[in-house]
Symmetry: C2
Subunit: 459 residues, 2 copies
Amino acid sequence: MTSPMQPAFDALHALLGDRFTTGTSDRALHGQSESHFPDMPPDGVAYPETTAEVAGIVSICTAHGLPVIGWGAGTSLEGHALAPHGGITVDFSRMNRVLHVSAEDMLVVVQPGVTREQLNEELRATGLFFPVDPGANATLGGMASTRASGTTAVRYGTMRGNVLALEVVLADGRTLRTGTRAPKSSTGYDLTALFVGAEGTLGLITELTLRLQGQPEAVSAAVCAFDDMEAATQTVILTIQSGIPMARIEFIDATFVRVFNAQNGTDMPEKPHLMVEFHGTTQSTREQAESFGEIVTDMGGSAFQWAERQEDRNRLWKMRHNAYYAARAQWPDVHAMTTDVCVPISKLAQAVTETASDIAQSGLPGPILGHVGDGNFHVLLLPDRDDPAQIAKANALAHRMAERALRLGGTVSGEHGIGMGKLKYMDAEHGAGWDVMTTLKTALDPQGIMNPGKLLRQT
Amino acid sequence: MTSPMQPAFDALHALLGDRFTTGTSDRALHGQSESHFPDMPPDGVAYPETTAEVAGIVSICTAHGLPVIGWGAGTSLEGHALAPHGGITVDFSRMNRVLHVSAEDMLVVVQPGVTREQLNEELRATGLFFPVDPGANATLGGMASTRASGTTAVRYGTMRGNVLALEVVLADGRTLRTGTRAPKSSTGYDLTALFVGAEGTLGLITELTLRLQGQPEAVSAAVCAFDDMEAATQTVILTIQSGIPMARIEFIDATFVRVFNAQNGTDMPEKPHLMVEFHGTTQSTREQAESFGEIVTDMGGSAFQWAERQEDRNRLWKMRHNAYYAARAQWPDVHAMTTDVCVPISKLAQAVTETASDIAQSGLPGPILGHVGDGNFHVLLLPDRDDPAQIAKANALAHRMAERALRLGGTVSGEHGIGMGKLKYMDAEHGAGWDVMTTLKTALDPQGIMNPGKLLRQT
C-alpha cells in the first residue's frame, strides 16, 4: 500500500537522494531522547548539506503539510526533537563545518551541526574559545534553539547573549539573515533573540555567528565541602552578591558526591560541595580566590582542594559533566527524570533546601546539582521504572519544584527548555505571554508545521 | 466645528480628567525632537499615572483608530516620539516611581518614566548602580524602547542584556508580563527581547525589571592623546582584543576637543583622544591600567591624564555627555544632524578614517566621537540651516557612512535606532528580516496604531 506521504517522500528523494531515508533504524534513532519520554519516531529523516537543501526540505513539507523537526545531537532533555505528530526530522550532522573564524572580531561562523567540543577543538590554536557549556556535547544549532547555558553562564552568559547573528529557514521556505557582525545594533526587532530559544517552532537555524572569548591568561579550579546544603548555598549567594566574577560555581549534593566517588574512584567527603573556577590574570584569579575563600571560611566550608594543572581541571569538569550519565549508571533500572528550575539568587537556599526535604520524604533517589551562581539547579529523580507509585511520586515532586520556582519569582526552566515536558507550566509562568507566543507562531508558521507539539499551546 | 476625534477626546477626558489635554502648548512640546526633524505634534497628550490608565488610553485609541505614541524624556535622535500621523502621545512623566529595589537579587523594578540619573540617585545608598548610560538623561522606558547603550556598554552591555522583565500594554489593551526575577530562563520565546528595541510599535512599556551592578571597589579614569585617528582607533582595537575589561573607552576627535576646550575652559591638546575608565578592585584596576598603558605607549599615545577623584571623573564624563549640546552651542545656526553606525571592531579604524576623510572633503563641521570599544561611533554634521547645498552634502555624507557600515559587516545604527530617520536603510540591512518584522507587527497590532511611521515599512 502506498503511503499518503509518498509524493512528499518522492520529492525529498529527488532533492537529497539517499540522504533522505524512511528506514526503520534511522527513524527509530530519531524517535528517542535522553530523557524519560516514550519513543516518537518521525516518518522520515533528511540529512541536508546546505542551506538551500534545508529550504528545499521545508518547502516540500509545507506543500504537503508535513511536520519538520530539527535534530542536533539528540541531547535535549524535554523531548524537543521527538516527532509526536510524525513528519520529517532534519538531522544537521552533515552541516558541521566551522565556516569562518575572525580572531580580530572575536567571532566565529558555524553550521548548526557543529558540536561545542568540536568548535573549541578547532579554535584551540587561536587563543579564543566559545564559553557556553551545557555539559552534553550538544550541537550549536540545538544549543541556540533551546537557549542553552550551563556551568559558565554565570560569567559569560547563556546562548541569549552569545549568538550575534543567525541564518534561519522559515516555514514558507524563505531564508532569513538576522543580526550583523557588529557587537551591537538598534535597528529594529531583535529577530536573533526571537529564534534563540524558539525550539525550532519558528524556523530551522542553518548558520550561527557566535561571540568568542579570549582564553584567560590564568585558570584555576577548586572544590570545597560544606557541612550542609544551607551553608553551601549561602556561600553562593554571598559570592554572587559580592561581585566576584566567578567563571563557574557549581553545587553538588552529597548523593552526587557518592556517585562521583563510585564512578571515578575519587574520595571526596560525602557532603555537599561547591566546584568553582576562576578566570583572569594570575594576579586577579589569586585575588578572586582569596575573596571567595574568605566567604567559604565564614560559612564553615573546608579548605580548597585545588586543581591547578589543566589535566586535573579537565578531570574535574569531566566528572561534573558526566554526572547525569554516572547517576544513570549507578541506578540502571530506573525511569530517569531530570528537571531544572531557576530562582532569584536570594531564594536559592530556600528553593534547594525545600526541594531536598521533599526528596528525603519521598524516599526516592534524587541527587541535586546546579549552576547555582545563576540560581539554577537540577534534580535527577530516579523512580523504579516498574513501580507506577514511585513514578507518580517523582512527578509530584517535579511538579512541586516548578510551582515553588514560580512562587519564588523564578522560572520553571533555567536551561532545559519546554519541549513537551513543561508545557503544563506555560500558562502559569507566562499568562497572556503564552497567547502572544501563539500569535507570533501563527504569523510565521500558519500551517503549524515547524516542530508541532512543543512549546506552544496544543490545540 | 467638532473634531471627528471628539468622541475619543471625550473618552480620554472621562478617563484622565485634566491629565488629558489637546492644548496647543502641550501638543507643540510633544511634536519636537532634539534632532533635525520638522515638528510633528500629536492631537492630544495623555499623562497616565497607572498601568490601568495606559491600558484604558490604548483601548480608547484602538476603538477610535487613533495612533498611540510613547514619550519619555524626548531625547531620542531619530524622531521616535514624533507624531507624523497625529494621534495621542502618552507622556510617562507621572509614572516615575522606583517601585522595588532588591539589593540581594541585584535588580530594581521601575516605572517607565524614571530617568537614568534619578534611578542612580535613588540607588546610591544601596551600593548598586544601573550601568547603561546613553549620555542624555533619558527615561528607562525610552531607553528600553530604543535599545539604548552608550559609554559603558563595552563592559556592562546594552539595554538588551540589562532588562530582565517587562510589563507591556498591547495594542488590544491587554497587559502582558514578560520575564521573571530569575537571572535566566529557557521557557519559550524571548518576549522581553522582542519589546526592547521595538520603539513602541508593538506596545507601551509600563514597568521594567532591570539588572543592577555592584558599585566597583575602585574606579579610575584617564585621558590620553594621539597624533592621529589611526593610532587612537588601533589602540582601541588592540585593547578590546587583549580582553582588558574596560568600563569605558571613548574616542573624541580633535574637533570635539576644540569644542570641549572652548566650552569647559580645559586645555587638552587639539588631537584625537581616548577617554577611559577602569572598574574593579584597587589591584585589578591598576593591572588593567598598566596593560592598557602598554598598548597606548606602543601606539605612540601620550601619558595618561588621570582623573582619580570622584569630582574630576564627574567633570570628565559630564563634559563627554554634554558633547552634543556643547557642539550645538558652538555652532548655533546649524541644522544639527547626528548619526551613528557600528562596525565589527576590526573595521573600526577603516570606518572612522574614511568617514573623517569624507568630512574633510565636504568642508562641513563634523566632529566625531564614539563608544569605540563596541565599534560604535557618532558624527555630528553641522550644515548651515539656510544652505540647502550644505544640507544635501551632510545628507550624502551620512548616507555614505551607513552604506560603509553595511559594507563592512556592520549596522546602520549602534544605538540611536531607526525611528523615522533610518527607515531607508532597513531593506539593505535586513532584507527578508524587515518583512518578518512587519509580519510580527501586523500580528500584534493589526490596525497599526502603535507609533505609526516608525521602524516598519511605510505603506
